[in-house]
Amino acid sequence: MKAPLLSVNGLTIEFRSRAGTVHALEGVSLRVDRGTTTGIVGESGSGKSVLAYSIIGLLDRAGRVTSGTIVFDDRDILTMNEAERDSIRGRDISMIFQNPSSALNPIRTIGQQIEDVIVCHRLQSSRTAYDAAIEMLARVRIPDPTRRHRAYPFELSGGMCQRVMIATALSCSPQLLIADEPTTGLDVTTQAAIMDLIREQTTSRRMATMLITHDLGLAAEYCDQIVVIHAGQVVESGPTKSLFQHPAHPYTAKLVTATPTLDTRLEDLTSIEGGLPDLRRELPYCRFSGRCSRFEKACNEAPLPRIRIAEDHFAVCRRPV
């Protein structure tokens, strides 16, 4: 088996806060291969963004990696020094942030912001960077790129700003793209256009994409494999088709039935009882146990087994569906 581009192994992250230590991620493992899209799915507060920030090295100072490794292209990101990380960040790994209008600098034109990335990584001189920026804008299908190069973020619509974010992220031809909710707040028509753009880049350049989303429909359509996270734990992972057809973890099964599709009836639509557990408290082995309808006493007496459901499809559960 070929070595994956990115592999996260047993990553555990804690945040120290005044109200106690928040156990944000616990033993998260996943792998992302070149030319594929991996979906990270979970509710808000489940630790999806913390995972993304730890990979790109933007974790808040209060966050502490207590164990685990993040291996990118055969090197452990967590043991790198700041200079090494700087050279990777934005060039080999780049990220599309959740809210384009606040992630872009409001007082610089969008063209300048794309040039900044290119010049910073010394891929081009500042003179040729202008042409490169315009080419990037054209590649993400922004009409009239030479005029838009001079535009400020507030002059563009949400969909356009998101395209600029993608252009910035792709300007150094990264090997790994992390897209954190790239289409939240956009219209369905714009959403489809943006996602197609990301998919096209993934397949044509053999880039690896990590799509972080809470929209199961989106993940199902665009991802090759999916990792489901609940309260900082990976509960299930596997190829998209297998995972949606035979969800094994009760949480995945509930998520699937809670997502309306074109042929669900309102009566069939179920919700997930309760909320995420308080991550500051002492947590049971199974963090879903408080919400689970299949819960038994045995579930929280020993560490959970990782059960193989099908090829590459695993669920971390004592009583899978």
Binding site: P143, G217, E221, K241, K254, L266
Partner: protein, 333 residues
């Protein structure tokens, strides 16, 4: 029977500033540019019916919501509520009219639309005091508890402030405040867009249940067609201030008549079953500022556009018994 709400040729235009680089003289004395937010729309909601209003951001959905709930005054057109003309009551005096109680809104952002200094109890009690003239504290408290039970909000949470509540609980407070005064028309502006799927299902069930029990009519505004389909009988599709299609929810989604509706439907992530390539919209939307009167608003993005679309703007016309489509090419089915 008169419809619950009937909107005819409703228009809302906003004056916008002159283009940059114009001389001062032109800026002050030149022609005033108008943004056509809502441009002559007509539709109706029957008693107890649930109508979905869909379209992309900037198409005028929210302006329609504000016009119908009478938070702003229309430029022209009529709004008949149970046969009574309500468009001529000035927006600032509408809260004193008897119809205020009848038309209530659940706002899009449950956090931003709640007063951070009001507890959940005070939030729900406020309209009871103001609109229903409920004076005695005992009556108000009893009614608030009743409402809390109806929307599934635990009584002990009533003394909390918005920041102490979860997203789903805030959504319940917002819905509770709206139904407290027993409205007959409830306008829901993207009520679930800020919620997780796990909570969204609960709120959708709650809304369906309230509609059944209280027999209220819904105007459900959303861009999530999967959600609209679950709660609505009919769908109104808007594009750039105009209605492009009206029809029964199930039919519009299974066989959209207007090219824009087709694009909307095909853009829904369809899950794992299909891997078909979809006809995506290319190009940019036309500007809503001073739109040319004789060109179809969708021209330029429409895959079917022809010369005729540039000469003559299509009008909303019936294509069969319960479907209206504004497109030259819509055929009868």
């Amino acid at each position: 029977m008169t419809p619950h709400l009937e909107v005819t040729d409703l228009r809302k235009l906003y004056p916008v500033g002159a283009a940059r680089g114009r001389s001062l003289i032109k800026r002050f004395f030149g022609p005033q540019h108008m943004l056509h937010a809502v441009d002559g729309i007509s539709f109706s909601i029957e008693q107890g019916e649930s109508v979905g209003l869909v379209g992309e951001s900037g198409c005028g959905k929210s302006t329609v919501v504000r016009l119908i709930s009478r938070l702003i005054d229309p430029t022209s057109g009529t709004i008949l509520f149970r046969g009574h003309k309500i468009d001529d009551i000035p927006a600032r005096r509408f809260s004193a009219s008897p119809y205020r109680r009848d038309i209530q809104i659940v706002f899009q952002d449950p956090t931003g639309s709640l007063n951070p200094r009001y507890t959940a109890r005070a939030t729900i009690a406020d309209p009871l005091r103001r609109l229903m003239r409920m004076r005695s504290r005992r009556d108000v408290n009893r009614r608030v508890s009743e409402i809390a039970e109806m929307v599934g909000l635990p009584i002990e949470l009533l003394s909390r402030f918005p920041h102490q509540l979860s997203g789903g609980q805030r959504a319940r407070v917002g819905i509770g405040r709206a139904i407290a005064v027993e409205p007959s028309l409830l306008i829901l502006d993207e009520p679930t867009s800020s919620l997780d799927v796990s909570v969204q299902a609960i709120i959708l069930h709650l809304l369906a249940d309230l509609r059944r029990r209280l027999k209220i009519s819904f105007l459900f505004v959303s861009h999530d067609l999967n959600v609209v389909r679950l709660l609505c009988d009919r769908i109104v599709v808007m594009y750039l201030g105009r209605i492009v299609e009206i029809g029964c929810a199930r039919d519009v989604l299974s066989a959209p008549g207007h090219p824009y509706s087709k694009a909307l439907v095909s853009a829904i992530p369809s899950g794992i079953q299909t891997n078909t390539t979809r006809g995506h919209l290319t190009g940019e939307a036309r500007s809503p500022v001073d739109p040319e009167p004789n060109i179809c608003r969708f021209f330029g993005r429409c895959p079917q556009g022809s010369d005729r679309c540039m000469r003559e703007e299509p009008v909303l016309r019936p294509v069969n018994a319960d479907r209206l489509v504004a497109c030259h090419f819509a055929s009868e089915t």
